[in-house]
Assembly symmetry: C2
Homo-oligomer: 663 residues x 2
């Protein structure tokens, strides 16, 4: 490495500070403090370490850079602009405006070079851990002597807030356990949060905590470029542990009145203070959005590394054609053509929990979808997420294909998103449905980013029985349906489970939640229903009456069987009922009206829904005249059949509700 | 202390093991491992340290005992039964059965002596931190020389899972910061989780992590009673730090084939293995549910401490009558009679964010509700939760009355619940509405336990503007409404805010979420509306048309103002609209039908709802013929008025929807 040019360094860092102050001031809202404080660290990282190609933000082997403290978005936008990404100055001038590429917090898929959507604290660093995990797994699988096909760092800038959030603690503990040696976190140790100095509430020894997690730790003056450089080099030299470097910085660096205060964090400095700061930094007051001469050249990324990697890739293809084909399959997430041949067969009438059939389907598919990489938050046996005859991924053996996430649901969610963002793997992860609450922060961002992750949520109702109300989801199905771009599927039996997995794997534009029973449910004969629809349509007629229907019974998951029993009871009384299985509201809503009307004929207004959860929302499908049989209270601890009976979720209750509508 | 009788200790511990094995075996489901492993530790704690009175589980100055690892419920039930609580053996024999007092996980309010509902990992230890915080705050406020009126320990049994969860990390960091010296955590260090040995995923140095948080740490053989006793004494001697004692135990202690394996964790040992275990422990195979002679006496709690405390309390009342009256006020949560006199007055027409009016109301009430103790998750200024001229609660000064929770939403939620469980304080806590996701695990349990906590959720929609979709709640209102026993209130202006705080403080049977704007909204004239209803009724007519209404416009929060603008537009076209403000679905649903029908006349089916969130659920109030104007997508980063405009949440859109229904 040639000698580092400190003059250009200073110009680059001050350019970032100037762009930040001006953009925030122009928008009259934003967060100047972090970009100004971390500019020195970021310039060192981006000029001396970050291997990337601004001309091709999607180059697979690039280093990943995550600004976990997403509120400091102007730092990232400045870096992207200066190093040559397709983010023109005009966009920086439109910071936080409608339609600009510079929203308040960085948004994945919206701005070139943004690796993940950040802002909600703790999520970015957790995503980064998922990226580093994916890197190491792919490297272990595909690299060959002389061919480091997958070989990149994951860098993070994280704030005090990021490290206070529990989600980052969960993920960092796992990262330490797994020894993710190519993850380097630059901690913006500025002693300030929104409420004031960190001593108000955050006096723990952060580095000692990270050392306890098994991380390499270091501390450095974040305004000494050469010291930062040396620290990053030391961190790179430690290959068996993730690294965290506390960079002591001054928030709002350069501002005479606001540096080192919470005032610098989340509001414009003010026109006067901007002027004073520029003066203090010996920076021209005009023009606004000033970029000093030579800074663009100094910061410019190049395509060299990618060119070299592409040469390596060509050689690899020649040397290892089969592995190369496999690698491509991983990168593009190619799905097998002959789904149905792979699926296990299920015996009609056999009682099987949908979590169990899910496990069977997953195991049948896994050999054909080799990039499927998942695990469970310490409920492997209960979630049936385990792959048979597959070793767990461990610190000593990254060829394993099963992740013991630990009792860390939120961390799991964020790591899964990071894996998906990295690419080359397709993540899934299991926990109880009730604990989807713990990971909603991660689920929401996965939905917003359109990440193809698969959540396996088992023990989906009071049907889990004796564990009681703390473990019985009641409001969760509807709460998940409320999240835009999340596909929720609650299959009623093994056949629907197989279809649900197919739909989940084919859904590449957003997360899918599979919602599964603990208790056994009989496998139905779907011969009739398959003519009219299936899981992919979201809802379909699973039992068509001989006579024209007088009433519609709509069920999901295990309650479809209650609806079918109710249909029999009604039949005995001469009432003709059409039973609808509705595994997915989102998929059904996406169908053409003509199809929806065959399933729910508009002229039949006598409709009863049955679902072991809150009734809120069911009016959408049962209408003003309908009745919702559900559970607008928490559950209870008892054998599950007793709970269903005591809380009125029975065929008799459904039949009675139906009769009340038509008589 | 007299010499500890190790013979009785052994009998007591084995009695607990026997009761556990038998109860789990009889139910044929449950978790024998933890009670068998932690029996020794628990017997030492309950006989040598725990100050309580089984005859009066509500005695205020009792030590609090939290079984954070709630799956080990048979440990707690055994302890309660043996020490003399009103939990007869017949209840233990009905473990996990409908209607029994021994549900799968301990439930607060259901079983005498259960201090909090546990099961979802990490919550119990977090509640305990809230209890210890409340204890220290009350002690600081009320204790006088010679009068330690509030003076008790909070003990916790926590598992690996508890300590892996992020929520416990957040809360533990705060506990260390605050130096909660009377909190003692007994960590069941058994090296086993559901998936297998902790080395699979949990290899961090837990005690080093806790030392980094500022805790006193210790480790001990959990099967050596005298060593455990000595360790607890050492922990008690450290008065300025919380303590964690790693108790090395063997899960399923005594089971020849399952001890130290995950098989002992969450399923019955099996009849044969139970027999082998009893033999191994030299325990009679019969009768089942055997209690050895003398164990009840050995374990029995006494009323002595309470009697002594009551004498102290009488003296205190004599010596400090005013403080005693104040203490009673704290204990009973007495509310002032003259609400309306205290409330600030608001100028009609003035634009004021509801978060701002909330801050004004809170500050007006706080002097009159002196046990109100809250804070914010590092958003004090944004949430307007700060009490003016009040010092923050700090490690050095617990007379402070404002809690800087840090960027720890989930921890805050669990701590608030613990404070409410402790009693003597009324907790509130603020964050952005979008981050209610982070704390749902705690919110749900607060709702289940019926705890009177108050959540202050600000920045409640796209109305927060430039921060963009990561910070803009969309699905959150409906997701919170889905939680049973949570009252959600979204006031439309300052007047409704004042009423909302009153309703929240008067709600003592469950949590209340106040949902508030970032942006200014005009204060309305409520002269007309007050004759027909107010926030306490959940919804009311805020604008009654002169002519009989043709259409109903239903809004919540800031969107009420859009509905009112739409009403004007419709009026210009000769259409008569009735505008309804619906701040709370839960409160409205609790009204008699007659009232509901005056607000939403059944014969008017042309109804439009307007809310800046998902439309899911609105069918309940707008019916089949209605239209919901809402937001079934994530938001965007821009000035808020632009977002409302671009996403179609405008008076024009509402008026158009209304017209489409009647023309």
């Amino acid at each position: 490495m040639t000698e580092y040019n400190l003059d250009y360094h200073r110009l680059a860092a001050n350019t970032i500070r100037g762009l930040t102050m001006d953009a925030v001031q122009k928008a009259n809202i934003g967060h100047p403090g972090l970009p100004m404080g971390m500019a020195d660290v970021a310039v060192v990282l981006w000029t001396q370490f970050l291997t990337h190609n601004p001309q091709d933000p999607h180059w697979f082997n690039r280093d990943r850079f995550v600004l976990s403290a997403g509120h400091g978005s102007m730092l990232l936008y400045s870096l992207l602009h200066l190093s040559g990404y397709d983010l023109p100055m005009a966009e920086l001038m439109q910071f936080r405006q409608w339609g600009s590429q510079t929203p308040g917090h960085p948004e994945y898929g919206h701005t070139p070079g943004v690796e993940t959507t950040t802002g909600p604290l703790g999520q970015g660093i957790t995503n980064a851990i998922g990226m580093a995990l994916a890197e190491k797994w792919l490297a272990t699988k595909f690299n060959r002597p002389g061919f480091n096909l997958v070989d990149h760092y994951t860098y993070v800038i994280a704030s005090d807030g990021d490290l206070m959030e529990g989600v980052s603690g969960e993920a960092s503990s796992l990262a330490g356990h797994l020894g993710l040696g190519k993850l380097i976190v630059l901690y913006d140790d500025n002693k300030i949060t929104i409420d004031g100095r960190t001593e108000l509430t955050f006096t723990e020894d952060v580095l000692a905590r990270y050392a306890a997690y098994g991380w390499y730790t270091d501390a450095v003056d974040g305004h000494e470029p050469l010291a930062v450089m040396a620290a990053i080099k030391r961190a790179q030299a430690v290959t068996d542990m993730p690294a965290i470097i506390a960079c002591r910085t001054h928030i709002g660096y350069g501002s005479p009145h606001k540096q080192d205060t919470a005032k610098a964090h989340g509001e414009p400095l003010g026109v006067e203070e901007v002027a004073l700061t520029k003066k203090n930094l010996q920076w021209p007051l005009e023009p606004l959005f000033y970029v000093a001469d030579g800074v663009a050249e100094f910061m410019a990324g190049s395509g060299e590394a990618q060119t070299a990697w592409e040469a390596l890739w060509r050689q690899y293809q020649a040397e290892y054609p089969e592995m190369a084909a496999e690698f491509n399959k991983h990168l593009h997430g190619e799905l097998p053509a002959n789904w149905d041949d792979m699926m296990p067969t299920f015996e009609v009438g056999q009682a099987l929990a949908t979590r169990a059939s899910s496990g069977m389907v997953l195991n049948a598919l896994a050999p054909h979808v080799p990039y499927l990489l998942g695990g469970s938050a310490d409920l492997s046996g209960s979630n049936n997420t385990k792959l048979k005859e597959v070793a767990p991924l461990s610190p000593d053996d990254f060829s394993g294909r099963y992740i013991h996430f630990g009792v860390r649901e939120h961390g799991m969610g964020g790591i899964m998103s990071g894996m998906a963002l990295h690419g080359g793997v397709r993540p899934y992860g299991g926990t109880f449905l009730v604990f989807s609450d713990y990971m909603r922060g991660a689920i929401r961002l996965a939905a917003m980013m359109g990440l193809p992750v698969i959540y396996v949520f088992t023990h989906d109702s009071i049907g889990l029985g004796e564990d009681g109300p703390t473990h019985q989801p009641v409001e969760h199905l509807m709460s998940l349906r409320a999240i835009p771009n999340l596909t929720v599927i609650r299959p009623c039996d093994a056949v629907e489970v197989a279809e649900a997995w197919k739909v989940a794997l084919e859904n590449k534009t957003g997360p899918t939640a599979l919602v599964l029973t603990r208790q056994g449910v009989p496998t139905l004969s779907h011969i009739q229903s398959q003519s009219t629809g299936s899981v992919a349509q979201g809802a379909y007629v699973i039992k068509q009456p001989v006579k024209p229907p007088q009433v519609l019974l709509i069920g999901t998951g295990s309650e479809v069987h209650i609806a079918l029993e109710a249909e029999k009871l009604l039949g005995e009384q001469g009432v003709s009922a059409q039973v609808i299985s509705m595994p997915s509201w989102e998929l059904f809503a996406a169908q053409p009206a003509a199809y929806r009307h065959t399933v729910l004929p508009p002229d039949i207004q006598a409709r009863v829904s049955i679902e072991a959860g809150v009734t809120l929302g069911w009016e959408r499908y049962i209408g003003d005249a309908g009745k919702a049989v559900g559970l607008d209270r928490f559950g209870a601890s008892a054998p599950y059949k007793t709970i269903y009976e005591k809380l009125g979720l029975t065929p008799t209750a459904v039949a009675a509700a139906a009769l009340s509508l038509i008589r």
